[in-house]
């Protein structure tokens, strides 16, 4: 039997959401994947139905697992729903409804990723463009604290460095590429200009650039560890380009200064628009972390770190963000979906997670699952379940269901959990 090839498949692995993949199916399973990067390919090929739901490490029926998850969440006084970054928007909506019903906290991986970028955006705004616009128009591309060569392998070909577009028919030849980073990354090797700045001095660097763009003289020969002439040259490149795009990453958001770095970068970009068109684009990592910000913002008014314990949405990064809630030991139960906090959060957070009831809803066994009371395997979105994903530039795409693994989707599991909890609350109410 020959396989069937499905085209225009969206890869939901990273924020690039490449949508030109070809997947070969045979006998209800995936036999091959074309055009994907190595990571994306692995995601498709790894999808299989292996695990069953579990309670306290023992296999359990889906119904029993849901019942136990509902019981743990109902018993909690101050629960947290955390993750959201790899699940479709439809499931994110369900997660928010559940958080609202429980009066819980809800947060995405923004907490330890681009949360500071969004906080800066709340202060300054964000002049940005779609990835296709960068492809079509940008003759100057700056990567600042971001390394797509390793984090989003096809970014260069599809959207930035080598992409050929309307005004950039020769791709790489039509562009100047600048990298600003603390170390020579794989991305830096492709750059026309690499400015290796001293760690933790992005704020200084951006201040110098703003001054030079405005024609203000700068004191010191090596601000932020780079000769001032090179900053002056970058300022000139920025002012003189036709259409500039700066792709910024966690090198800025998670280093000293955090949202202050971003406020400065976004202010610089705003100011550059007095000379030319210039844009800033956050390099979002997870496949649908951008979706989580959109859905949370349109439903609650706030993009991440939302608390419902007052009966309405409240937002306060540092108070209602996952790292802080866990590190301070405040939450007494955690539902994890679309993230692996045990693998990525600081030790204090993980120690607290290990001490409270944790429910993990995920297609794959991960580190967090190993300390969970309840695990519920779900169909991997974009492989065995359909749904909407928002690319790092907020372009929404519909990921396909390619195979049926006999597993429920994230959305289904969350909805059933919510319905169960709503029924239990109704019963409780009727007692009074």
């Amino acid at each position: 039997m020959r396989g069937v090839v499905v085209g225009d498949v969206v890869c939901t692995f990273c924020g690039s959401l490449c949508d030109d993949l070809e997947v070969e199916l045979e006998g209800g399973s995936i036999r091959g994947v074309r055009r994907a990067c190595a990571v994306g390919r692995a995601k498709f090929l790894a999808a299989r139905d292996t695990a069953s739901p579990s309670i306290n490490g023992q296999p359990a029926s889906p119904e029993a697992a849901l019942e136990e998850a509902a019981r743990l969440l109902l018993r909690a006084g101050y629960p947290l729903i955390y993750g959201l970054s790899t699940i479709p928007a439809e499931a994110q909506k369900e997660a928010i409804a559940l958080a609202e019903l429980l009066g819980a906290n809800i947060d995405s991986t923004s907490s330890h990723c681009h949360g500071p970028s969004t906080m800066a955006r709340q202060q300054t705004g964000l002049p940005t463009c779609s990835l296709g616009e960068a492809k079509n128009r940008a003759d100057l591309v700056v990567f600042w604290g971001s390394n797509p060569a390793e984090s989003s392998p096809r970014h260069f070909v599809r959207y930035s460095v080598g992409a050929r577009g309307l005004l950039t028919p020769q791709g790489r030849k039509d562009r100047t590429v600048v990298v600003v980073d603390v170390r020579p990354t794989a991305t830096a090797r492709l750059a026309d200009e690499f400015l290796q700045i001293a760690p933790g001095q992005d704020y200084e660097a951006l201040t110098v650039l703003r001054a030079l763009v405005k024609g203000v003289a700068v004191e010191g020969r090596h601000p932020a560890g780079v000769p001032v002439e090179r900053w002056a040259r970058l300022a000139e490149l920025m002012k003189k380009c036709r259409y500039g795009a700066v792709f910024f990453g966690m090198g800025l958001t998670m280093s000293r200064g955090r949202e202050a770095n971003l406020e400065l970068l976004l202010t610089l970009v705003k100011e550059l628009n007095a000379y030319t068109r210039f844009h800033a684009l956050p390099m979002r990592g997870h496949g649908n972390v951008a979706g989580s910000e959109n859905v949370l913002a349109w439903q609650t008014g706030f993009p991440f770190g939302v608390n419902f314990s007052a009966g309405y949405p409240r937002f306060n990064p540092g108070e209602f963000t996952a790292v802080d809630l866990l590190a301070r030991g405040e939450v007494d139960a955690c539902l994890v979906i679309g993230a692996d906090p045990a693998a990525h959060l600081p030790g204090t957070c993980v120690r607290h997670l290990a001490s409270i009831p944790v429910i993990v809803i995920d297609p794959h066994p991960n580190l967090t699952a190993s300390l969970a009371r309840v695990t519920i395997p779900v169909a991997p979105a974009g492989v065995a379940a359909a749904g909407t994903f928002y690319r790092m530039d907020n372009v929404p795409l519909r990921a396909k269901k390619l195979v049926d693994l006999g597993l429920p989707s994230d959305e289904e599991v969350l909805r059933r959990l919510r319905e169960r909890i709503a029924r239990a609350e109704d019963r409780q109410r009727s007692h009074y």
């Binding site: 085209g7 225009d8 969206v10 949508d19 030109d20 928007a89 909506k93 409804a97 609202e100 969004t118 955006r121 709340q122 300054t124 705004g125 964000l126 002049p127 940005t128 463009c129 779609s130 990835l131 296709g132 616009e133 492809k135 079509n136 599809r158 959207y159 050929r164 577009g165 309307l166 036709r242 259409y243 705003k270 628009n273 030319t276 068109r277 844009h279 959109n294 859905v295 913002a297 349109w298 439903q299 609650t300 008014g301 706030f302 993009p303 419902f308 007052a310 009966g311 309405y312 949405p313 409240r314 937002f315 359909a386 909407t388 928002y390 907020n394 372009v395 929404p396 795409l397 519909r398």
Partner: protein, 541 residues
């Protein structure tokens, strides 16, 4: 069957004045009086005013730029929380409310149909995902085409068949109801680092003019048989002296159907010294002579607002003006957009003149052609509508409000000399019957047999602002959804769209360029049917 008994029925689409009588509802529609032996549930409407549900023709409630506005305004959300109630979701915001709150608040004012005025096709899924969350009202959206690369290319070829095919396909691909044009050519020009355009500035890359774009799209929309004509945000918005461009645009399109959005922002004149003054009179005169045109006003009210539009060069200039937050997003091959928060101040002469210009337009133009909007949230958030209605119905109140403004307003506008008072019928025309007719929605805006049973009942009171801010009952397709201004039932509205007899496809001549210049595959561009749970279409002919 429900009988709404003994109400004062205001239904100007079907008769000139109000009458006390009964209204019968069955199966979500207005039905003829049944035989006397038929049992009906009766709602006693004695002393109540019965009107059709209000129709919002131009608002920004869902989609990428609205959500960008939400992210930009946490302060608006901190200050205005809305608590969760048993069947109703929580939310936040006055200026840019979150989506559930938007639906409850619109329905709470008696609005039963709302159109989102600007949708970039590349991000149309976002709009529909959000509209799916909008409770209680029917909804639809307009699709941005005035700076679309392929639209401009098709216009350049002069092949109207090609353009028709493309426009039909774009409407289907984006799940839209009408063609929207925002600063035609001007957004594209800005992306090239060039300045503002006039009606006859050639714009890159095809060197066609805004006039070419408008004429071609208006013609093709007619040819497609769309229920709503091209919805136009003209060039040159917000600039003192822009009334020249506005009138020139209207002259160019005279004799054809067109809708001019938020006309207040386009009706500014200059005096001999080059100073800002009202141009409302000449715009009103032109409109009154051209019944083929409709417009909505985009009234400015004092207080916080958020400007948001696909007109990115405008937003850039507003950012330069305010020096504050600026959101902007260029979208490949289609459009730009921007968001800038704004506060309109009573003591700022410019803002006071803007306020007066909107009222002048509403008072000088036939309400069948001039509809009440605030271009939410650009001129003000929509919850101020009852206050605007009071300004229209009560000339004494209007004069007293005018007295509170800088003296210059009385010199720079003719508002002080306008004595007209809107009647209830005229309020129903400007908020319901007029917009429904302009939209080609046969089942909306009136209470004749066969209409959707979107019915709003008010308690007659002296204070019309209080009356219009708190309907006693709102029925959505026959179902009671609001009592005393508060939602009482959760109902999902329908998405309103259009359907064609032909199956329009993306022109094959452009396929290669689509694949090269967009950043997504052509097959992933059209919004899938999965995004429409409840849909109602107008079949075009």
């Amino acid at each position: 069957m429900l009988r709404i008994a003994n109400g004062l029925i205001i239904d100007p689409a079907n008769g000139p004045s109000g009458r006390v009588g009964d209204l019968f509802i069955e199966g979500g529609k207005i039905v003829p009086p049944p035989s006397p032996d038929r049992r009906c549930e009766v709602l006693d409407a004695t002393g109540l005013i019965v009107t059709p549900g209000a129709v919002e023709i131009h608002s920004h409630i869902a989609g990428p730029k609205v959500t960008s506005g939400r992210i930009l305004l946490p302060e608006d959300h901190y200050a205005h929380p809305v608590r969760r109630r048993r069947d109703f979701r929580s939310g936040t915001g006055r200026t840019v409310p979150s989506i559930f709150v938007t639906g409850y608040r619109y329905a709470g004012l008696g609005y039963t149909t709302v159109f989102e005025a600007s949708v970039p096709p590349l991000k149309a899924r976002h709009v529909h995902e959000e509209l799916a969350d909008l409770p209680l009202v029917d909804k639809g959206c307009y699709v941005l085409m005035g700076n679309n690369y392929f639209v401009m290319k098709a216009i350049k070829t002069g092949d109207r068949g090609l353009l028709k095919e493309l426009v039909g396909w774009l409407l289907r691909a984006a799940g839209g109801y009408a063609v929207k044009v925002v600063n035609p050519g001007g957004v594209e020009n800005w992306k090239w680092g060039r300045g503002a355009v006039t009606l006859d500035t050639p714009v890159p890359p095809f060197e066609i003019t805004p006039r070419d774009i408008l004429l071609a799209l208006v013609e093709v929309a007619e040819d497609l048989g769309l229920p709503h004509p091209v919805h136009i945000h003209a060039n040159d918005i917000g600039r003192a002296g822009n009334v020249t461009t506005t009138l020139e645009t209207m002259r160019a399109l005279a004799g054809r159907r067109a809708h001019f959005a938020h006309l207040q922002f386009h009706s500014y004149d200059v005096n001999k010294k080059g100073r800002f003054r009202s141009g409302a009179a000449s715009v009103a005169e032109f409109l009154n002579e051209h019944p083929e045109f409709t417009a909505d006003v985009g009234q400015v009210m004092f207080g916080p607002a958020a400007t948001m539009t696909a007109d990115s060069p405008l937003e850039y200039s507003l950012y330069r003006l305010t020096g504050g937050k600026w959101g902007s997003c260029d979208l490949e091959l289609e459009t730009g957009s921007g968001v800038v928060p704004m506060v309109y101040r009573r003591n700022a002469l410019v803002n006071a003149v803007q306020w007066a210009v909107g009222l002048e337009l509403l008072l000088l133009v036939n309400p069948w052609q001039m509809f009440l909007t605030t271009d939410h949230p650009n001129g003000a958030p929509f919850h101020v509508y009852p206050e605007i209605i009071r300004l229209l119905m009560d000339p004494d109140y209007r004069r007293s409000e005018l007295e509170r403004l800088p003296a210059g307003v009385r010199r720079l506008t003719q508002l002080a000399s306008l004595d007209r008072a809107y009647s209830l019928e005229e309020v129903v025309i400007t908020t319901r019957a007029g917009p429904a007719r302009a939209l080609g929605l046969k089942g909306k805006g009136h209470l004749g047999v066969g209409a959707d049973a979107d019915v709003v009942l008010y308690r007659k009171q002296e204070d019309v602002a209080a009356m219009f801010s708190r309907p006693v009952y709102v029925f959505k397709r026959g179902r009671l959804v609001v009592r005393e201004g508060e939602p009482v039932a959760d109902a999902e509205g329908k998405t309103l769209g259009v359907e064609f007899r032909s199956d329009y496809r993306f022109p094959s001549a452009f396929r290669q360029e689509f694949a090269s210049y967009y950043s997504i595959s052509p097959a992933n561009y059209p919004v899938e049917d999965d995004y429409f749970r409840l849909r109602e279409v107008v079949v075009c002919s």
